[in-house]
Symmetry: C2
Subunit: 157 residues, 2 copies
């Protein structure tokens, strides 16, 4: 194992997230494929599920999925009957996407499957104390905001 403590703080933070990142990607992809979804499709459902409806534009802004990819992913989900697509009222340019009954059932079931990403996070969750959990979410919030700003920072920390 590499001696991470020798690395600068920022690089170490990057590595820490990278490790989770790779695991998340691996587990999410596995869950998606097992259920006949592409990875972007999984991301779209993940994003829309708690809100029930969103515009395609909004999904693009939040997920950073390139719009050509997004367009195709959404198209597949609509054809599969998991999403309902219609133009936004009073704006024929944007599309509004809503989770269908079938989509809701499908995705709920998918997350509940043994071996799904969610099941692993359930386990991870149990390994954290309440306090750890709360502080983790707070820290993530701060970090996400930093990553979503326009410019990075050259100075080390």
């Amino acid at each position: 194992m590499v001696e991470h403590s020798e690395l600068p703080r920022d690089v170490r933070l990057l590595h820490s997230f990278f490790r989770i990142h790779r695991n998340l990607a691996r587990l999410a992809r596995r869950t998606a494929v097992k259920n006949g979804l592409s990875f972007p499709q999984f991301v779209v459902l993940m994003m829309i599920a708690p809100r029930k409806k969103m515009t395609q534009k909004m999904i693009g802004e939040r997920t950073f999925i390139p719009k050509s990819t997004l367009s195709q992913a959404v198209d597949g989900l609509v054809k599969a009957g998991y999403l309902l697509r219609r133009p936004v009222e009073g704006n024929r340019r944007e599309s509004e996407l809503a989770l269908s009954k079938e989509g809701e059932a499908f995705f709920g079931e998918l997350l509940r499957q043994e071996g799904s990403v969610a099941s692993f996070f359930a386990k991870a969750c149990q390994a954290l104390s309440d306090r750890q959990y709360r502080l983790l979410l707070e820290a993530h919030q701060v970090i996400a905001e930093a990553l979503e700003q326009e410019q990075g920072d050259k100075s080390r920390c």
Copy 2:
């Protein structure tokens, strides 16, 4: 904005990581492409940089990059002169990969560029207190271990 606090703890944790995940993927990909690397190639360098040398097998185990993808990524890096490849001593099956002088310089420079993933994490880093930073790494360690075990958990938390 969705009312995340209504979601179960595990799903909320998943969403929290997902947000960082998408940002990390976006920024890392941007940094990679800007420097003529594919995403897996970036991951390989990221992994090998602090250790200087690793076997290809080891990289595969830690990154979860499919071996066909990994093989091609490594091949490109070798051809570009960033990695040195030779069979492991006493085992003609595995290959040992080492960062070349050029590779080290290249990757170091890449991380230092304005707008690189690392620069964004430097900024994020500054937004955290020492205590937050320490607790974050601890929590990540616990979570990564849970994700890397064989089986997930069906029960909620």
